[in-house]
């Protein structure tokens, strides 16, 4: 067996895991690993901040379906990863993060750039490891990848004492993992599946409520069959937009706080809610007691802890969503559900998603989304930051396929979008990647423009510029008597900033300019920034106030 140093063992292990792209930022404690990278064929993308690095790995994982890998040094390198880990943990994104640690003899001595990153990251990782002996290195990497990608995926951190990456050992990558305490359930229970089939066949007003778990599981074709076989209308969470094409009659699009009125009204009327890889988040359910109050609930999830966590369910099924649906489908009777279909049609006609459009030159954010949808023929991968623009992007673009909409759902991380869009583009080089950003969010990881420029990553950055932290301002308008406390945020000149990075940039404020400007940005060979000035006090409708029931929607 070949003798390799720790750094080389890591590279070889990554190859065994079919990793060909890593995101990182070097430093003293990972210098041996970077030395090993120097001679390897591994493609390394240097970010501009460790938070950018990990969000890029996350965006890469979401767009490609592979495990995202990132590297940071000890101390501040590791602590800068924390938001990215929490973000991935909340949205169940498979990541393996390597951090450097001071030499094992110095651990606990408050050495230079020492931080207890395994302690710090404990609550925001699926699992983490500290490696202080090179003999454990290859096995630990094997286990980390296995844990990150199986079951309910999540981020796994490996902290590497500096002497481990320096030491030399034989490289022997294990074929199998030995984790007696980790055995996810993949197969659904037969009896429960029969129960679910019976409930679905008997239901008069069934409704599919599909979340990110279905995307992770790759269950789009099974979901489609479910919808079409028994004519079951489907609403999705923010995490699952596009799992079923949104232009179809039975698609109700997103539900919840800023969901469509028809989706929310359908949850009030359904007699059987079929939750698939969804976790009854408070932004989805509103007041729990009122959510789907008329309905029995079937819940399919790979994580047993999600079942009954927020709401009691009548038919729980633990297992991989795709596998369970495959088992379930043959038992589902073909049905027309005529009356319910008719009702859904009525709801969609009566309560459409809408906004006040006028003949003026004002550029409405909703209109921009529609134009992007039109221009890209609905095919682009849309990545967002967090806030109003994120909701408009979710609402006013018809998503057609899974992994087409990439957003920070659970944690709501401003600053996620730009680096994630870069990662998403690297994960899907052939796709057009469009970042929808707010003027507030984009400034949180703006330094990653440097990454986009350095590697000529052709992401198209559309800034919805309202000179406010719009979502908080909206809450202040509705619930705090327009007391706009600290939400006015003067934007910098984004065109000059783009210029400074050598990125194509343009700013517009007239509706008649939008068409041409979009075309220019989209066709530009490389990254592009389009700064679009939108009305300062435009609101996201409809809206369910926090803590209210879904029946109490405002506007729309």
């Amino acid at each position: 067996m070949p003798k390799l140093n720790g750094g080389e063992i890591i590279i070889e292990s990554l190859k065994k895991e079919n990793v060909d792209v890593v995101f990182g930022y070097p430093g003293g404690a990972v210098i041996n690993l970077y030395d090993a990278l120097y001679n390897s064929k591994m493609k390394h993308y240097l970010g501009r901040h460790e938070q950018g690095v990990i969000h890029a790995a996350d965006g890469y994982a979401r767009s490609s379906g592979k495990v995202g890998v990132c590297i940071a040094t000890s101390g501040p390198g590791g602590t800068n990863l924390v938001t990215g880990l929490a973000n991935a943990q909340m949205d169940s994104i498979p990541l393996v993060a390597f951090t450097g640690q001071v030499s094992s003899s110095l651990i606990g001595k408050d050495a230079f750039q020492e931080a207890d990153i395994t302690g710090i990251s404990l609550p925001v990782t699926k699992h983490n490891f500290l490696v202080t002996d090179i003999k454990d290195l290859a096995r630990t990497i094997k286990e980390a990848f296995y844990i990150a990608r199986t079951g309910r995926p999540g981020p796994v951190l490996i902290d590497l004492a500096k002497d481990v990456t320096q030491a030399v050992a034989e490289f022997d990558y294990p074929d199998q993992v030995n984790l007696p305490g980790y055995r996810p359930t993949f197969e659904g229970h037969k009896l429960q599946i029969n129960k679910a089939a019976k409930a679905i066949n008997e239901a008069k007003k069934p409704l599919l409520y599909v979340g990110g778990g279905a995307v992770i599981s790759g269950a789009q074709s099974e979901i489609r069959q479910m919808v079409e076989k028994a004519k079951i209308p489907i609403t999705t969470t923010l995490m699952a937009l596009g799992i079923y094409p949104e232009d179809q009659d039975l698609a109700l699009e997103m539900l919840g706080m800023h969901g469509t009125q028809y989706a929310n009204k359908a949850t009030l009327e359904t007699d059987l809610l079929i939750a698939v890889g969804a976790r009854f988040d408070d932004r989805v359910t509103g007041k729990l007691d009122e959510f789907a109050a008329q309905a029995d609930i079937i819940q399919i999830d790979i994580d047993p802890a999600e079942i009954g966590k927020n709401l009691d369910v009548e038919v729980p099924i633990v297992g991989d969503v795709k596998k369970v649906l495959k088992e379930l489908l043959p038992y589902i009777k073909e049905k027309e559900n005529g009356e319910w279909q008719q009702r859904i049609k009525e709801l969609k006609e009566k309560y459409p998603l809408q906004y006040e459009a006028d003949e003026s030159e004002t550029i409405k954010p909703q209109y921009i989304m529609e134009e992007i949808d039109k221009y890209t023929k609905g095919d682009a991968t849309i990545v967002t930051e967090v806030g109003q623009h994120q909701m408009w992007a979710a609402q006013f673009h018809k998503y057609k396929k899974p992994r087409q909409f990439i957003t920070s759902g659970g944690l709501g991380t401003m600053g996620y979008g730009l680096p994630a869009a870069i990662g998403a583009q690297i994960g899907q080089p052939e796709e057009k990647v469009v970042l929808i950003a707010g003027d507030g969010s984009i400034q949180m990881n703006i330094q990653e423009l440097g990454t986009a420029q350095a590697y000529n990553i052709p992401v198209k950055i559309i800034i919805f510029n309202n000179k406010y932290l719009g979502m908080v301002r909206q809450w202040q308008e509705f619930f705090f008597d327009k007391r706009y406390s600290s939400t006015k945020i003067p934007a910098p000149d984004f065109v000059k900033m783009g210029d400074a990075y050598g990125i194509w940039s343009k700013s517009i404020d007239q509706k008649s300019e939008l068409d041409t400007a979009l075309k220019e940005a989209m066709e530009h060979n490389g990254p592009a920034i389009l700064d679009v000035h939108i009305p300062e006090e435009e609101n996201v409708y409809p809206m369910v106030p926090a803590g209210a029931g879904l029946k109490d929607m405002i506007g729309g």
Binding site: G119, P123, K126, H127, L179
Partner: protein
Amino acid sequence: MTHILSVSVLNKPGVLTRIAGLFSRRNFNIESLNVGKTENPEISRMTIVVKGDEKVLEQVTKQLHKLINVLKITELDKNSIVERDLILIRVKCTRKQRSEIIQIADTFRAQIVDVAPDSLMIEATGTEDKLEALTELLRDFGIAEFVRTGTVALSRGQASK
């Protein structure tokens, strides 16, 4: 409502932190937590006394299961277990009071493990109720120092049910 969970865990670094961290993060209440080695040196057993209704208990169990180093979780049925705490109490006493205290200790099958001119140290094991009763009686003499383990418990064997 308290529940006693017996949890087998792999003896890996940080396993106690992971479990304690989980409880605080998920807003669960621990009454007591006890950890020690088992017959297998690679495995430790934790006895955790949890406060909460059935729903809380279900979440605690499921969330614990998600920890990679947790092997097995059993809720112990209070009607068919042996549960014990251990306490050490140093009681102030004058020469005159000494025999009275020893008598009390005897009644509770406790041991005198240290004698000093002005104090006695008592070691007692038993259920929580018993130890609380003993502590109450000794309080009148003045408790100088007191230390107590959390509960440890095991299910009774099949035959003794």
